[in-house]
Point group: C2
Chain length 214, copies 2
DNA sequence: TGTTTTAATGGCCACTCGTCTATTAATCTC
DNA sequence: GAGATTAATAGACGAGTGGCCATTAAAACA
């Protein structure tokens, strides 16, 4: 609930908090997809007029981009942690990157869901997601991978293959909570369960990347 | 294009082929999601009146179930291959199961896409998908896994974790063709490229499941 | 204090959607 | 062959959508 005061300019000090509004929009887009998500229904749930949303963000698509930008500020924080330790052993850094990615997916499954929704059809939206959420991390990981391959510590693997295994394969339990529950998983996994799962995925992938005993 | 003859009962011998119609519906649901997919637009593209679809399948949801049932007949064929070789070494069988799953996702990405679309909100639809596309395979794989764990040949791993790594992690390149293309992958992968990718995923996962050298 | 700006509102518009119904035309049945 | 059946159609209905605009009321400014 954001709830405005009614018609007319709001009393000073009672400015509309745009953060919770964008978070709610993000969750709505993630739950229903771009087409299925209704600006009017969202506004009703928030206790706000539907015209407010278009007035603030120009259009439904404007709201989408604003919501994604909102998600980006959170996401960037998690990447920065990866970049700050260049002295770390490459393999250990790779492992931590996988853990971080899976845990990010767990705490912000909306982005992953939206990525899945948009992935079928080309649009400015999917390009935004790839440009802002997928590509920025790529050089950081790929550089480590190249060094590890050159040192014979892992075998070669296309980046996309690894990316999907980690992000979609590791994050899917959180992006598809209903299916996960039907498969017997916890509906609201604890921080501990998430960490255990992320470590299991990271261990599996790092071990799986080891060079074949030729 | 399915294209009917016009008003009135069709000339005998020119019965409406329901197969291509369901295939088109499946692809449309996969591309736009349940809400975003419009029965009217689909009927326009098919060159068929919109009332035909509701008349044949009762409702939009009826069309969805019919399309999924259509997909199921194809999918079941691929599982049967897994069940017929019980004498095969468990680890090799597991490897082949992974390859088969990834290759199935490549040739029928619609089911995976639909699964992703539906995964956020509980509905009869997501339950249908889990019951008919996810659960049937589970005992076959889980039995092999239990034996392998007991023999100390792989380490323990929750089924759901493995399931998502294989299905979503391995299948995502085909379920998200736009993102894959933006990541530098082939837009229309050849049979060979698909097989190579599937084998790479299977090798990585099987190697990653090896017991830790404690 | 009187005027302008700003940030919200409700209501209207044209459109699309899924569903339902009456109509049409070819086939089947007696 | 005449009537019943079947499989398609076009069209109407009510609901819901995103976008737009005139209206309202508080704040900011002169």
């Amino acid at each position: 609930m954001v709830q405005t005061r009614g018609r007319g300019r709001p009393r000073s000090g009672a400015e509309l908090e745009v953060g919770p509004l964008l978070q709610a929009a993000l969750e709505a887009f993630a739950a229903k997809g771009y087409d299925g998500m209704s600006v009017r229904e969202l506004s009703r749930r928030l206790g706000v007029s539907h015209a407010l949303l278009t007035a603030r963000f120009g259009s439904k698509e404007g709201l989408w981009f604003a919501a994604m930008e909102h998600a980006l500020t959170v996401s960037e924080r998690s990447w920065r942690q990866l970049a700050v330790e260049p002295a770390l052993d490459d393999l250990e850094a790779l492992r931590r990157a996988v853990v971080a990615q899976v845990m990010f997916a767990a705490s912000h499954p909306e982005v992953l869901r939206i990525m899945s929704h948009e992935g079928a059809i080309d649009s400015p939206r999917i390009r935004y997601v790839v440009d802002h959420f997928v590509n920025p991390l790529r050089p950081l990981v790929e550089q480590r991978m190249r060094r590890l391959v050159a040192a014979g510590r892992i075998r070669e693997m296309p980046y996309a293959t690894l990316h999907y295994l980690v992000v979609q394969g590791g994050g899917a339990p959180y992006a598809s909570p209903v299916e996960t529950a039907l498969l017997g998983g916890p509906e609201q996994p604890s921080e501990d369960e998430i960490r255990r799962h992320a470590e299991a995925v990271a261990d599996l992938i790092v071990a799986g990347l080891a060079p074949r005993p030729s």
